[in-house]
Symmetry: C2
Subunit: 279 residues, 2 copies
C-alpha cells in the first residue's frame, strides 16, 4: 500500500496534497487529492469527508474551485477527492464525455470491456478509505458528498453502506439515473441490460426502500440546464417522503450546474457534516 | 463601446459574468470577467476592485480559484479581472511563457513587433475602467490588486495614478523587475534597452520616490520558489522604509506561489480595500 506524494500546497494553515498509488481494485495507477486541516499538527485524528466529482472532472476540480479548505480548516475535517474513473493506457474508453474515462459512475462494471478496470464503487467504499486511514492522521469517522455524477455516487454509496458514513450530501445529483440519459447510457455499458442491477445504484430507488437512515442534504440550482432531463430531484424528494427519509432538499433560484453554485453553498454542507461527525 | 456577454453564473447571491469587446487600445478583441455583488439589486452603485493576474493566466483563474466572491458579496464590492495580454491571430507572441500572450506585464510597449498590441498599461488604467463605469452599476471608487506579474502591475499602476485608486495590494508581486529575470526579459522586449524607462514600471523604484501615498498591503509566501530570484519583496520593504510609504508587508511561512496561497489570504485583502473604499 505505497502512496507517492505528487504535490503539497499550504492552504488555510493546513496542507493540500496530491498522491498517486497503484490501485489493486482498479488495476491501474490512480491519483487522489487530500486536504489535511491544521488540527493534525496537534496530534488530533480528524474525520474525513469524501468528495466525489462529476463527469469530466479529476481529483483537482473540487480542491481548486470549491473554496472548501477555509471551512475544513476551521472545523478540523480532512477532505479526500478521488479521480472520477480509472485512467491510463489500456483502460477502456469511449468518445463521449459521459462514458469511460472521467465517467466511472461509482459502480462496479460487470460488462466487457469495462469490467477490467471500472470498479469505482469498490475503490471508493473500500480501497481508498483503507489507504487514507492507514496513511494519514485521520479517524474512521466518514461523511460523503459529491456533485452531479458524484452526487449520485455519494448518495448511493452512503445508502448502500449506512454503517460507514455519518452523513451524506450532494450538489445537483443525478437522482434517478435509471430514468436519465446519462444513467441509462452508463448503466447499460457498465452493468448490462438487466435493469434490476441498475436500481441498486439509483438514489431514488434506494431512498424509497432504505431501512437504515443517515442525515441527508441535497442542494440543486434552479437554473441548472440539466435539471429536468438528467437530475430529477423531484424523484428523490418523492422517495424521501414515502419512506420518511431525513432529507433536506433545497432548490436555489438562478444557480446553475457549475462550481460557482458549489462554492456558494459548500460552507453549509461542511457545517452539516461536522454536526453529524460530532465536530 | 459595445460589450458582449459570454456567460453568467450566479455566485453568492451575485453574478459572475464574462464579456468580450473590441479594444481600441489593444487593437484586438479582449475578454474580461466581472463579479457583481447582490447589493446592485438595491440600485446601489458599488466600488470596483481591479484584479491583475500573473503569467499564463486569463480573466478566469482568479474568479474560479481565489474564492473572493463570498467576501465581495458580503462587502458589496465588484471585482473586475482583465486578461493578461492582448490575444488573437496577428498578435505578436514568443515561445516562452514569460513574454507575449499571457505576459503583457501591464506596460505600453514601445518596441516592434510588440507596440502594435501590447498596451496593457493604458488598457487597465483608462479603457477598461471607462467601459466598466459606463456599462455596470458601479461607482468610480477603485482599488487594485494582483498576483505575481499582476502584483507588479497593481502596485506600479496605483503608484503612477494615486488619484485613481483608494488602495493597492498584491500577492507575491515582482517587486523589483529591473533586477529580476522575468522583468529584464519583458522590459527589454517591450520597452527597449534604455533602463530609465524600465524604472518607471518598477514598484520598488516608484515606492522609493513616491510623493503621494495610498494604503498598500503585500503578502508573500515564504516557500515560494520564485521568492529570491524573481520577486524580491525586500527591495519593496527597503523602499517603503526610506520613503515612509504606508506598506503592510507580510511573509507567510510555508505558503507557495499558487492560488492556494491567494485563497488563504484574499479575505484580508478585500477587507483592507473595503476599509479604504469607505465600505
Amino acid at each position: 500500500m505505497t502512496i507517492e506524494n505528487i504535490s503539497v500546497n499550504k492552504s488555510f494553515g493546513g496542507w493540500q496534497k496530491q498522491y498517486s498509488h497503484q490501485s489493486k481494485t482498479l488495476n491501474c495507477a490512480m491519483r487522489f487529492a487530500i486536504y489535511l486541516p491544521p488540527q493534525i499538527s496537534n496530534g488530533e485524528k480528524v474525520p474525513v469527508l469524501y468528495w466525489l466529482s462529476g463527469l469530466t472532472c479529476t481529483d483537482e476540480n473540487f480542491m481548486q474551485k470549491a473554496g472548501a479548505q477555509r471551512i475544513a480548516a476551521e472545523l478540523g475535517i480532512a477532505i479526500v477527492a478521488p479521480d472520477t474513473s480509472p485512467r491510463g493506457e489500456g483502460v477502456a474508453n469511449d468518445e463521449g464525455y459521459d462514458l469511460g474515462m472521467g465517467a466511472g459512475f461509482y459502480v462496479n462494471a460487470t460488462q466487457a470491456p469495462w469490467n477490467r478496470h471500472y470498479q469505482m464503487y469498490d475503490y471508493v467504499v473500500n480501497e481508498l478509505p483503507a489507504i487514507i486511514e492507514a496513511s494519514f492522521p485521520v479517524s474512521n469517522e466518514r461523511a460523503i458528498s459529491g456533485h452531479s455524477m458524484g452526487g449520485h455516487g455519494a448518495l448511493t454509496i452512503a445508502m448502500l453502506n449506512p454503517e460507514r458514513y455519518s452523513s451524506m450530501s450532494a450538489f445537483s445529483p443525478i437522482c434517478n439515473p435509471v430514468k436519465a440519459p446519462w444513467g441509462k447510457k452508463a448503466f447499460t455499458a457498465y452493468l448490462g441490460k438487466d435493469k434490476a442491477t441498475w436500481r441498486n445504484h439509483d438514489a431514488s430507488e434506494l431512498m424509497r426502500k432504505a431501512s437504515q437512515f443517515i442525515p441527508a442534504k441535497v442542494d440543486q440550482g434552479g437554473a441548472d440546464d440539466f435539471l429536468a432531463e438528467q437530475l430529477k430531484p423531484e424523484a428523490l424528494e418523492a422517495a424521501a417522503k414515502v419512506n420518511g427519509y431525513p432529507l433536506e432538499l433545497a432548490i436555489h433560484d438562478g444557480y446553475d450546474h457549475s462550481y460557482y453554485f458549489i462554492s456558494s453553498f459548500i460552507e453549509e454542507h461542511l457545517r452539516f457534516h461536522a454536526q453529524h461527525l460530532n465536530k
